[in-house]
C-alpha cells in the first residue's frame, strides 16, 4: 500500500525560518537587504475614520475648499518651511539612489510645493537645483557634509537614527560605491561603506543642545533644525529633542525603509509607526509643545488614508520614502525606454534571485528599473522627466484622498482632523493608538 504523505508545516519552523537556517548554515553571514519591515505589524490600516453623518456635517467632496498648507519650524527659525501639503520626501542618499532619481524627486516636490531631503552622502547639485525646498541631513557619517551646503539648505535635519535600523549605522555596499560616490564620501571606490551609528562631535542630549546652537549660529538662525530618530523610546526621545531645542521632530517607525541594512534590524528593532505617533504626540502635549514644535512622521506611509490618519493622530506632516520609489517604478516588471515603450526586466529580477512585486534587493546596486543604482547603464532606465511625472501623479492622488477624507469628516483644513475622528479595528491598534475599538468605548490599557 502507498504510504500517505504527512505535510504538516510547523508554525515555529515554517519555510521562511527553514530557509533562513539553511542559508545561515551555508554562508555564515546575516542577510543585508533594502526597503522596510515586511511582516505584518499593527498599522494605520487598523484604524478607520468616523466620517460625518447626522452628528457631524460634511463638506462637499472634491469641491469645497480644504486647506492643506503646512508650516514647519515655527519655534526658533526666522524662515520656517512652508509646504503646499503636509507631505515631504524622506531623506534618501545619493549613492543609494542615482542622480537621476534625486533630480526626479526634486522636480516633483518643487511642482507640488513640498520639500525633499538629502541623505547619507551629501547634497548633489542635481537635487539642490531641482528642489525649491531642500532639507539637508546632518548624519553621523558626515559624508560630504560642508558649510557651503549648510548655508544652501532650507532646513537642517540632524539624523539620530532611522526606523529601519534604530541604533544601527548605514551600509552602502561596494557595488554601489562609484568614483563619484566615493569622492563625495572621501573613501576608496568599491569598498563597503559603513556609516557610523554615533555622531562624531556630540553624544548625549546636553551636547546636542550646543550642536543645534552651532548649526543655528552657522546659518544665522534662519533655517529650522529638525531632529529625526527611529521609533524606540519615543516619549523620552521626543522630550529630549524638544529640550535640546529642535524646531521639528521626525519620528520614523519600524516600517521605514533603508537602502541596505541587516534584516535582523529591519524586522526586529523599533516599534511600528502607529504607536510611535501616539507616543510622540503625548510627549509634545506633556511638554506643552503641541503646535509649537512640529511633528513629522514616517515609516510605511503609502496612501492618502495613511496621511489623513497620521494627521488625525496629531502629526503635522508625513515623510515618504519607499512609496516614492515605488512610484518611480520600484517592483514593476518593466522600465520605460526613451521611446515610451515598456521593456520587460523580469529576467533581471530573477538574476537577483527575486521577482517584480517581491524585490527588496536595493543593496545590490543592480536595481532592474534604475532606481537604487549607480550603474551607468541601469541608472539611465529612470529618466528624471518621466519619474517626476509619475511622482506628481502619486502625490496628487495622496492629496486628493487626504482632502476627501478631511471634507467627509467636516474639516475645511486637513490639520483639523483629530483623534476623535478615528476608531480602531483591532484590539492591538486600539491599545497602541489609544483609540476605542470600533463599536465600543474600550481602549485597552487606558
Amino acid at each position: 500500500m502507498k504510504q500517505m504523505l504527512t505535510l504538516e508545516e510547523s508554525a515555529n519552523y515554517n519555510r521562511k525560518i527553514l530557509n533562513y537556517i539553511h542559508q545561515a548554515s551555508e554562508t555564515g553571514v546575516y542577510d543585508i537587504r533594502g526597503l522596510g519591515a515586511k511582516r505584518r505589524v499593527p498599522s494605520l490600516d487598523d484604524l478607520v475614520f468616523l466620517t460625518a453623518s447626522l452628528s457631524r456635517y460634511p463638506l462637499e467632496g472634491y469641491r469645497e475648499k480644504c486647506v492643506t498648507k503646512t508650516v514647519l519650524g515655527t519655534r526658533f527659525a526666522k524662515k520656517p518651511i512652508e509646504l503646499e501639503m503636509p507631505i515631504t520626501i524622506a531623506g534618501m542618499s545619493f549613492g543609494s539612489l542615482s542622480a537621476n532619481v534625486k533630480e526626479a524627486l526634486g522636480r516633483a516636490a518643487t511642482h507640488m510645493g513640498i520639500s525633499t531631503t538629502t541623505g547619507d552622502g551629501g547634497m548633489t547639485p542635481e537635487e539642490r537645483n531641482s528642489s525649491k525646498t531642500l532639507v539637508y541631513q546632518c548624519l553621523p557619517s558626515r559624508y560630504g557634509f560642508n558649510p557651503d551646503d549648510v548655508r544652501k539648505a532650507d532646513a537642517i535635519e540632524i539624523v539620530v537614527g532611522q526606523g529601519a535600523k534604530p541604533g544601527g549605522g548605514g551600509m552602502l555596499l561596494g557595488l554601489k560605491v562609484s568614483e563619484r560616490v566615493a569622492r563625495m564620501r572621501t573613501l576608496p571606490p568599491g569598498i563597503d561603506q559603513r556609516s557610523a551609528c554615533r555622531h562624531p562631535d556630540w553624544t548625549g542630549p546636553d551636547d546636542l543642545t550646543i550642536k543645534i546652537q552651532e548649526l543655528r549660529e552657522i546659518t544665522d538662525w534662519k533655517v529650522p533644525i529638525y531632529i529625526k530618530f527611529g521609533a524606540t523610546r519615543v516619549r523620552e526621545d521626543v522630550k529630549l529633542a524638544i529640550k535640546a531645542g529642535a524646531d521639528v521632530i521626525v519620528v520614523d517607525g519600524m516600517q521605514g525603509g533603508t537602502a541596505a541594512t541587516q534584516e535582523v534590524f529591519i524586522e526586529h528593532a523599533g516599534i511600528p509607526t502607529l504607536p510611535a505617533i501616539r507616543l510622540a504626540v503625548e510627549a509634545l502635549e506633556e511638554m506643552d509643545m503641541l503646535g509649537k514644535v512640529q511633528l513629522v512622521v514616517s515609516g510605511g506611509i503609502r496612501t492618502g488614508a495613511d496621511v489623513a490618519k497620521a494627521l488625525a493622530l496629531g502629526a503635522d506632516a508625513v515623510a515618504i520614502g519607499q512609496g516614492v520609489l515605488m512610484s518611480l517604478g520600484c517592483n514593476t516588471p518593466h522600465y520605460i525606454d526613451a521611446d515610451g515603450r515598456p521593456v520587460d526586466v523580469t529576467e533581471e529580477y530573477q538574476a537577483l534571485g527575486t521577482a517584480p512585486g517581491y524585490c527588496h534587493h536595493c543593496q545590490t546596486g543592480l536595481c532592474p528599473v534604475g532606481v537604487t543604482t549607480q550603474h551607468p547603464v541601469l541608472e539611465q532606465r529612470m529618466q528624471p522627466e518621466w519619474g517626476a511625472r509619475r511622482l506628481i501623479n502619486y502625490l496628487t492622488t495622496l492629496k486628493m484622498e487626504l482632502t476627501t477624507i478631511a471634507r467627509a469628516c467636516g474639516k475645511s483644513n486637513v490639520h483639523h482632523l483629530e483623534r476623535e475622528d478615528l476608531v480602531a479595528l483591532t484590539v492591538e491598534a486600539a491599545a497602541m493608538a489609544k483609540r476605542p475599538l470600533a463599536g465600543t468605548n474600550w481602549i485597552p490599557g487606558a
Binding site: G190, D192, D220
Partner: protein, 229 residues
C-alpha cells in the same frame, strides 16, 4: 585692519554675525576677549582673516571653519574645528573630546593634550597634537594625518579607513583593524613638514606609523566582491 570684540559686553551671536558678513577674500585681525568658555565662537567663518580668542573657549570653537586662521590662547571644549574645511586652528592650551571631528581639510594644532576621540571621522584634515591624545582617537578616520608627540590612549584608530596616524610616545592599545606599519622615508618627510607647519619640533624618525589593515573594507570578507562599475 583690526577689530576687538569683548564677550563681557557683546554676544557670540553678534560676533558670528559680523564674521559671516565678511567678503570671502576679506583680511584683517579680530580679537575676541573674555570668551570665558562660551560655545560656538567663530563658527562657520569663510574668509582668510586672523581670529585670536584670548582665553578659554567652549564647544565647537571654529566649527566648520573655512580659510580663517584661528588661535585660541587657552583651552577649548568639545569638538574644536569640527568639520573644518580649510584654514588653520591653533589651540595654545588643551582640547577636550572630539578635536577636529570630521574635519575635511586645513590644519588643527593643539599644543597641549587632546582628550578622547581626537580626529574621529577625519576626512582630510591634518591634526598635530603637542601632548597626548585620549582613547578611541581617529575612530573611523577616513583621510588626513594625525601627528601626536605624546602618547595615544586605548583603541587608537579603531575602524580606520585611509587616514594615517603617527605617534611618538606610547600607544596604549590599537582599535579594530588598526595596525603598526613601517615608517617610510615619505612618512618622515610628511611628519617633518607637519611639525614645521605646527611650529613644534621632534625627530620624525621617533614616530610610529598606524594605518588601516583594511580587513574591514568588506562587511563579509568571504563573499566575492565583484565590482560592476
Amino acid at each position: 585692519m583690526s577689530e576687538t570684540f569683548d564677550l563681557k559686553t557683546t554676544t557670540v551671536r553678534a560676533i558670528n554675525e559680523h564674521l559671516h558678513g565678511l567678503a570671502p577674500d576679506a583680511t584683517g585681525v579680530y580679537e575676541i576677549l573674555n570668551p570665558n568658555g562660551s560655545h560656538n565662537i567663530a563658527v562657520g567663518v569663510d574668509a582668510p582673516v586672523e581670529i585670536n580668542i584670548r582665553g578659554h573657549a567652549g564647544y565647537f570653537t571654529a566649527g566648520m571653519n573655512k580659510q580663517a586662521r584661528v588661535t585660541v590662547y587657552g583651552n577649548v571644549g568639545w569638538s574644536v574645528a569640527e568639520n573644518m574645511m580649510s584654514g588653520r586652528v591653533h589651540v595654545k592650551g588643551f582640547a577636550s573630546q572630539c578635536a577636529g571631528a570630521s574635519g575635511h581639510g586645513g590644519l588643527l594644532v593643539i599644543d597641549g593634550d587632546a582628550s578622547s576621540r581626537c580626529g574621529i571621522s577625519m576626512k582630510g584634515i591634518d591634526i598635530v597634537v603637542g601632548g597626548s591624545i585620549g582613547h578611541m582617537s581617529a575612530f573611523m578616520a577616513q583621510a588626513g594625518r594625525l601627528v601626536v608627540l605624546g602618547d595615544a590612549g586605548k583603541g587608537l584608530g579603531d575602524s580606520l579607513y585611509e587616514a594615517v596616524i603617527y605617534v611618538r610616545g606610547k600607544i596604549h592599545g590599537l582599535g579594530a583593524d588598526a595596525r603598526v606599519e613601517d615608517l617610510s622615508e615619505e612618512d618622515r618627510t610628511q611628519i617633518g613638514e607637519l611639525l614645521e607647519q605646527a611650529g613644534l619640533s621632534a625627530r620624525p624618525a621617533e614616530f610610529t606609523r598606524v594605518a588601516s589593515a583594511r580587513t574591514l573594507y568588506h562587511w563579509n570578507p568571504t563573499s566575492p566582491q565583484v565590482s560592476v562599475l
